[in-house]
Point group: C2
Chain length 198, copies 2
């Protein structure tokens, strides 16, 4: 696109954001040009700040900009339950739900031999350490409901299976609000397997 050079640069940069193609980037750039300078500076600053300040929590590897993440720091959380997720996005999703009161453990990926990623490439050792050091009754495996996530969950389940800790997995089934006819076969199969008496 022909445009002032600083605008072309801005559009190029905006395209690095997820889900932003050339058209959206152009629209965003035009919008940014119409904002007042303080707002633009604030947006730019927030990006650099977040990137600079946020690091993994030393206990659960959730995102934090303090010494511990807001979950680990919260004394009212139930320390006997650990929910294992692949990434910190998983924590944010579950926290949005607001029902879960236990702790988390962020693996930082999944076990996927097809992609050359074994058990040592995720934070499994750190999880086992935590289980040894504290009295945890239940580990909820909330890895993604895909092939790699399933494999990872199975691997972890076997690893801590005889430690006496209860190991559970999030239910698979029909997404609420979805249409039966649009559900894929595997989801339907899982929903059928997991059916409950009403």
């Amino acid at each position: 696109m022909k445009a002032p050079e600083s605008m072309v640069k801005l559009i190029e940069q905006l395209r690095k954001l997820p889900g932003v193609g050339p058209k959206t980037a152009g629209r965003m750039a035009l919008h940014i040009l119409q904002m007042d300078p303080e707002t633009v500076a604030g947006l730019a600053e927030a990006m650099v700040n977040a990137k600079e300040l946020i690091r993994p929590c030393p206990v659960c590897f959730n995102y934090t900009d303090e010494d511990l993440c807001w979950v680990c720091k919260d004394e009212s959380r139930d320390k006997s339950t650990i929910c294992v997720v692949e990434g910190a996005e998983g924590v944010l999703a579950l926290e949005r739900m607001g029902e879960y009161r236990g702790l988390y453990h962020v693996l930082g990926g999944n076990i996927s031999p097809m992609n050359g990623k074994g058990p040592d490439d995720v934070r499994l050792r750190e999880l086992l350490e935590r289980l040894k050091e504290s009295r945890v009754n239940e580990v909820i495996l909330a890895t993604d409901p895909d092939v790699e996530g399933e494999a990872t969950a199975l691997y972890i389940a076997r690893l801590i299976g005889d430690s006496g800790i209860r190991v559970t997995r999030l239910a698979r089934g029909l997404p609420v609000g979805g249409d039966l006819e649009y559900a894929d076969e595997v989801t339907l199969m899982r929903a059928m397997e997991g059916r409950r008496k009403l």
Copy 2:
């Protein structure tokens, strides 16, 4: 959403971008945290830079970060045609097409008495000055094909109607690639009115 404060701030700031709701902002924020620091700094800088450097071209009011915009500066452009658009986005859209070789005039809005905006609220005087000072043969009215855009085009057409300059308006009709059955009645009517012999 519960998250580190610098992340909450980033999400709030990202929501100021067009078409970015809370979920997209969250996804963008997570993406930004996974970029390397130089990329984030580059994105932030591009925003502030563009906002700082880009201003209206003193001749046509298109965006520029130099003394004149890239269209006005280009000696090979046809100076006898001026295409009038509501905003600088219009220039970018027409330049993407790449067929038009004339100049532009950015009104900076439209005439809309319903919203309290009269002829003095757009850069009409500047357009008339340009028409007086240079030998322009044709003014193409490319204001938006909505009520305000039509009204603005009609107003300008009447204003320069007896100056001997040819005043044209972009064709209305069926969008290419669209479905006949999804076209609204007014577009169909315009397409019918504007039909051409094959």
